[in-house]
Symmetry: C2
Subunit: 483 residues, 2 copies
Amino acid sequence: MPDTFTPRTVTPLPQPLMEALQAILGPRGIITDPSDLEPHLSDWRGLYHGASPALLRPASTEELSAALKLLYEADIPVVPQGGNTSMVGGAMPDESGRQVILSLSRMNRIRDIDPIDMTMVAEAGVVLKTAQEAAAGAGCLFPLSLGAEGTATIGGVLSTNAGGNTTVRYGNARELMLGLEIVLPDGGVIHGLRRLRKDNTGYALRHLMVGAEGSLGIITAAVLRLFPRARAEAIALCAVESEEAALSLFRRFRDRDETAVRAFEYMSGTGMDFALKHIEGAVLPLSERGDHYVLVDLASSRADADLRGLMEAVLEEALEAGEVLDAALAESEAQRHAIWRLREEHPEAQKREGASVKNDVSVPVSKVPELIRRSSEALKALIPGSRPVPFGHMGDGNIHMNLEQPEGMDPAEFLARSHDIMDCVNAIVRELDGSFSAEHGIGRLKPDMLAEWRGGAELGAMLRIKAALDPKGLLNPGKVLPA
Amino acid sequence: MPDTFTPRTVTPLPQPLMEALQAILGPRGIITDPSDLEPHLSDWRGLYHGASPALLRPASTEELSAALKLLYEADIPVVPQGGNTSMVGGAMPDESGRQVILSLSRMNRIRDIDPIDMTMVAEAGVVLKTAQEAAAGAGCLFPLSLGAEGTATIGGVLSTNAGGNTTVRYGNARELMLGLEIVLPDGGVIHGLRRLRKDNTGYALRHLMVGAEGSLGIITAAVLRLFPRARAEAIALCAVESEEAALSLFRRFRDRDETAVRAFEYMSGTGMDFALKHIEGAVLPLSERGDHYVLVDLASSRADADLRGLMEAVLEEALEAGEVLDAALAESEAQRHAIWRLREEHPEAQKREGASVKNDVSVPVSKVPELIRRSSEALKALIPGSRPVPFGHMGDGNIHMNLEQPEGMDPAEFLARSHDIMDCVNAIVRELDGSFSAEHGIGRLKPDMLAEWRGGAELGAMLRIKAALDPKGLLNPGKVLPA
């Protein structure tokens, strides 16, 4: 899927509608200049492109509601776009030139933080990192953490039910959400910003909206759960003997203290080699190269938690059992950062090494070793010389089963086989009762897979819900559901 | 709402349908004898009654699917009934005599327990206590815990998103569910028993079904999350100075170790007096009576967790601050049980004291003291001599703001004022941004409140979803949504 973007014709909004929208949104609220629109017409990976007559930037829920009502009456499709860091084209308009883009970047207030209720009320346009920092400023933790946190927005991470590194301890975005404010396709507003741990009053519309990728309604604000901040931490990088040894190490930590495992990340020797080769300043803090690595991140809000003691005790057991071959404990904030950077720069290192195809899959935790082993072998057989780079969230069963092109191959030729590569991994994932999209969602890339994997009564129910809440099919058309 | 039950006429199922159902379900699968049906036609509180021509007892998902398809074609309404311990009549047919009752009590297998994945696959008819025991047998914990656990079923607790005592630590039933198998009104089956921590593939139908009270589909089996079992515990009963002191004590524990607070239950002096008066063997383990009590239940899977030390340290701080007046730490399993029994027998003690009206409400945690104080005063003003009995899950903001009749009043006269009493509490709950149904749901009791509290776009979306998934309105009619 190389860059094939060429400027496309757009269908301008009818003049009376334009004027009505301007009256609602004000001069800063509509962008139609092509050069201002351009950054919104390609995703950050350069894989998806679209065309659009206008970008709408409402400053409030009321403005959005009034604007959506007009667009609904005029049958204009709308594509919500947060940080535009979707991995699957979820925030990209299509190439018809008819779809209006909706950005909530001006709705970026943190309305409230309550350290007694342990809640934050954040508007959809708040950047994830800003939300993390605001929580920290109130002495609390908002635990959602992922690579794109400097650009991804609260609206985006909820609409895609983002996961990331700390799901093993705190859950996905869904579990961090207590209430939502939602604007429906016809402009109706659901006022659901309730700060309640228990609220069984009718259907869980908020949960239906989480992960719906903006195709059923627009999330404009959320009540988010906060946690006590970490007062003790311990981080280690380990070379482990095998995929099975990595899982065994996870179980050892979980059995001792499941609340202390903040993240447990697997990396392959190949992926680490790429990071060491391409990332400036990257150094392996171990005596020699391994074939399998694990990043263990322990944290606790207990000031007296002896996590270093826990780390050392468990690693010693695992060294004696032959599961861990070597380990380095971070002794400083700088070392902690350096170890995490080896993991966080995996996508960037893969990009610099050449073309790669991403497979964001999950299986039951117990099946992770089998997934990694079988997929790696199958991929190497499918494309001789290709280099599997499995890495990710072992504690959640969520492995990015990525494949790097063979050295010297034409990237376009390799990328032309994207769907073969995905099919190859997915066939194994399916045998292991897994999912073809663990945390990235469906977007523009995978609606056909949804039909194949979730067909029958399940897809039927989804289509009926879509038709019920968005009868004209105007919200994020072409995403999530097959046409 | 006294018992006004009189036998009612039923509309027998048409003979051809009866025969077709018998062919599917077998001789044990349909009950039509009035005396066998009787236990299913009143709820356990004796407040709700109904009439029904038949109880269906399928032995498998396939049988249920085939039977529902026939009922759908014949326009026969169906009321699912689990343990029949709904507080709001959620499992009771109406009095039309047309509604068939569906019991999944024969679908009571635990299909799988996996201590690596930390999951259990349980059929809907498994009793909650059985699920807890099966988890314990595998060295794990299934943490959902509530008064009716000896009769409530997995299908019922998921369909009502039950909460209970441990929500503060482990979440509601929703958070303990990873995947569901669901039969839709027309017999279509959603095969969603996925044991995945991350699975973003389309709309979250499983979350829509949780809390829908069987009005959108029938949950036939679930993948449930397990946790490491507790290896350390500490339980105390405290007399506290005020409602505010109770909240302050909760915060002290949460700040020290939020993962250790398994339950934090408030009780009033009045409620404790009733328990001591009516419950055989109940003894207050404190030197004198208080106006406010708290049950603190700490637990950890860490074998070396010093929870007794934590308990003593925090209680000492709170004693010095004047928040805690007296405290008793359980020294044995028998003492732990005795302290919990004082709390668990609160509903029974209220029943023996006379007629009472239940208000299952929630507010943000920070507002709990205000809720208790203001509601108690308003209720005493509404019905002179009446006795407020607030108790429950302070750590979740969920208080059962119950009211006991005045001594000597005719119970029927008191119960005739049920709706005044609920309105009185709900007016305060609404000012505090709370919910009129925290954990019991809507059932037959509160559809009108749903319309009042969740009207406009929110109720509109719920009605459209109901029409989309159950177009003939055959599943649990008259529950959840207003007519």
